[in-house]
């Protein structure tokens, strides 16, 4: 099953690149990018149950690292590899303090950090500030398509391997009950940071490839909170906690985006996205993959952790 999915994905982008239809190439590149992004959010939110509202941080870091390296005349593959390294470094440094928080506190903390970072980038003159960094064209659209496909495929492989390994078991134990997991000898702190670091890989890679693709990085674009929102809806629509879920979700939403954007306006798509999110969680909390017989995590359970406990009952009253 998994092998067939990989073959279909690769074959699809090969066929598209052979036809040479520029619009379809652009569409497929976008599709591959969102597959990678939704998969990467799945690693932290689906497997370990931490709702990350600031995941776009790594996308922006990846894009800016690649842009900076390109401007300093490094070859593009070195630039992209540096993106992974910086993303991983950021995930480990940030992960240790922030992963101690639970539920809504984790969500708001990651969100506020990503927004703070965006504001810092707006003011950082050496990196273009609010003007952004324009880059020269390095790769043609077909090479970008191959690169994005490679990233999407590798993000799928990462998540597939996590599911089939002891690491995945540890992650789901942490998701279900951290205390019990630690009683069974799982080093909860290390596994949480591992999940955060693994989830940063595909995101910063996709960010780097995005910089090469668009040839212009700008804080208001690469750090835009909407990217997180879209990853989130894709993940919950398809079904969190399984490699197939984000794949389904990102394919559906990218097609819907393309249709609404072409015939109506981008705003309508975003309104649709918001309304969709409300509907999914109330009526279809397990995601589409659940109905196809996959074991997904209920979106309700994931977001259950976000509901604040009654503070008044926690206190000595």
């Amino acid at each position: 099953m998994f092998i067939y999915i990989l073959i279909i994905l690769t074959a699809f982008s090969l066929v598209i690149s052979l036809t040479g239809h520029e619009y379809m190439i652009r569409f497929t590149t976008n599709l591959m990018m969102w597959i990678a992004l939704a998969q990467s959010l799945n690693t932290i939110t689906g497997y370990t149950g931490r709702v990350d509202f600031g995941h776009v941080l790594f996308f922006g870091i990846g894009a800016y690292t690649t842009a900076y390296m390109i401007l300093n005349n490094y070859p593009w593959y070195i630039a992209i590899l540096t993106s992974i390294a910086i993303g991983l470094l950021g995930a480990v440094i940030l992960g240790y303090p922030v992963l101690r928080l639970h539920g809504a506190y984790f969500a708001i903390a990651t969100w506020s950090f990503a927004e703070a970072f965006k504001q810092i980038m707006f003011g950082w003159r050496e990196l273009g500030g609010s003007f952004g960094l324009p880059l020269k064209v390095i790769l043609d659209s077909k090479s970008i398509l191959y690169l994005m496909t490679l990233i999407a495929v590798s993000s799928l492989i990462i998540n597939f391997l996590i599911e089939r390994s002891k690491i995945g078991l540890a992650f789901s134990a942490i998701r279900n009950n951290e205390l019990v997991a630690s009683v069974y000898g799982i080093n909860v702190v290390h596994y949480r940071v591992l999940a955060y670091a693994l989830s940063s890989i595909a995101t910063s890679l996709a960010g780097g490839a995005y910089a090469l693709w668009i040839n212009y990085v700008y804080p208001g674009d690469v750090f835009h909170g909407l990217k997180t929102d879209q990853m989130f809806v894709m993940l919950l629509l398809g079904g969190a906690g399984t490699y197939i879920g984000p794949l389904i979700g990102s394919v559906i939403l990218t097609v819907i985006y393309e249709v609404l954007w072409t015939f109506f306006s981008e705003q309508l798509y975003l309104i649709f996205l918001g309304v969709f999110l409300m509907i999914i969680v109330v009526f279809m909390p397990n995601g589409i993959a659940y109905y196809l017989g996959f074991k997904t995590v209920s979106g309700r359970r994931l977001l259950l952790s976000l509901i604040p406990t009654r503070i008044s009952s926690v206190k000595t009253r």
Partner: protein, 290 residues
């Protein structure tokens, strides 16, 4: 040495900004403290207030002050209907749904604004309101005076409602023990609807103050959501007086940083502060109930 004029000017501006933030934050603090709902679309309702002010000023050609009536009606009605017909059901249904509902709203609303009124940056520059008053070398525009008076008035009304009326007793009872309050005959769900309506009206009035004293864009909602979160977390979740104090502190800090250091990193400082406070003490600095 004579008193530094710049210092006093900054101080006064900071207090005024703090009063505006206090309006926004008290609304969020109420809905969090009473319903235990995290309204991540709070900033979007602030922007709605600002847009309504702009519409009253341009389309109707009236003085922006009249928009307070429209804001009270529109935001209050939206708040009541949302809470009474939607969010209350979500509270009894699946536990996550209210937060996701607001999350979806936060994505959808700015785009509704853009479709209806365009993505431009706006500010209300009414000739009467932009007139400034000088007191000992300090210049304060009339708009700022009006918004701080409005803010003090609204906050006093909220505090009066909370601590001196039966309505307020009901709210405080619901915070302390929801089930006991229900047994004693308080219609919790109608109470929630009134509280949410009040919360959105406060957000809308803050929007009026923002529209008349600075510029705003329809997509600025998340910035105000995060700023009010910072204030509410700093002041203690659900503790109204704490939120007011925290709002004044944040307003002062923002203007002093903008005047003496650089206005580039004001929001970056604020959001980093929120991050750090959450790391150190997630339940807020002043741990008290309403």
């Amino acid at each position: 040495m004579a008193v530094d004029t710049l210092f006093i000017q900054t101080f006064v501006d900071g207090i005024i900004l703090g009063l505006i933030y206090a309006l926004a934050a008290v609304g969020l603090s109420l809905s969090f403290g009473v319903m235990h709902v995290i309204n991540v679309a709070h900033g979007e309702f602030i922007i709605l207030g600002a847009l309504l002010t702009y519409i009253v000023w341009t389309s109707l050609g009236l003085s922006p002050i009249y928009s307070i009536l429209l804001i009270t009606a529109v935001n209050g009605l939206i708040g009541f209907l949302l809470q009474y017909y939607v969010v209350n059901r979500l509270l009894t249904g699946p536990p996550l749904a209210s937060l996701v509902f607001f999350f979806g709203l936060a994505i959808a609303l700015p785009n509704v604004y853009i479709i209806l009124w365009g993505p431009f940056s706006r500010s209300v520059t009414d000739p009467l309101l932009s007139r400034s008053v000088s007191i000992y070398f300090i210049n304060i525009s009339l708009a700022k005076i009006v918004s701080s008076v409005l803010s003090i008035l609204s906050l006093s009304i909220v505090l009066y409602l909370l601590y001196k009326t039966r309505f307020g007793i009901g709210i405080r009872a619901a915070v302390q023990n929801r089930d006991a309050a229900m047994i004693l005959g308080i219609n919790i769900y109608r109470l929630y609807a009134y509280v949410f309506s009040l919360s959105l009206i406060l957000a809308g009035v803050a929007g009026y103050a923002i529209a008349t004293t600075m510029a705003f864009t329809p997509v600025q909602g998340p910035i105000y959501t995060l700023l009010t979160f910072l204030i509410v977390v700093l002041g203690g979740m659900g503790y109204v007086i704490g939120s007011i104090v925290a709002a004044l502190l944040i307003g002062l800090a923002q203007t002093f940083i903008a005047t003496y250091l650089s206005s580039l990193y004001v929001y970056a400082f604020a959001f980093l502060l929120l991050y750090i406070i959450l790391l150190i003490s997630p339940k807020g600095i002043l741990r008290r109930g309403i």
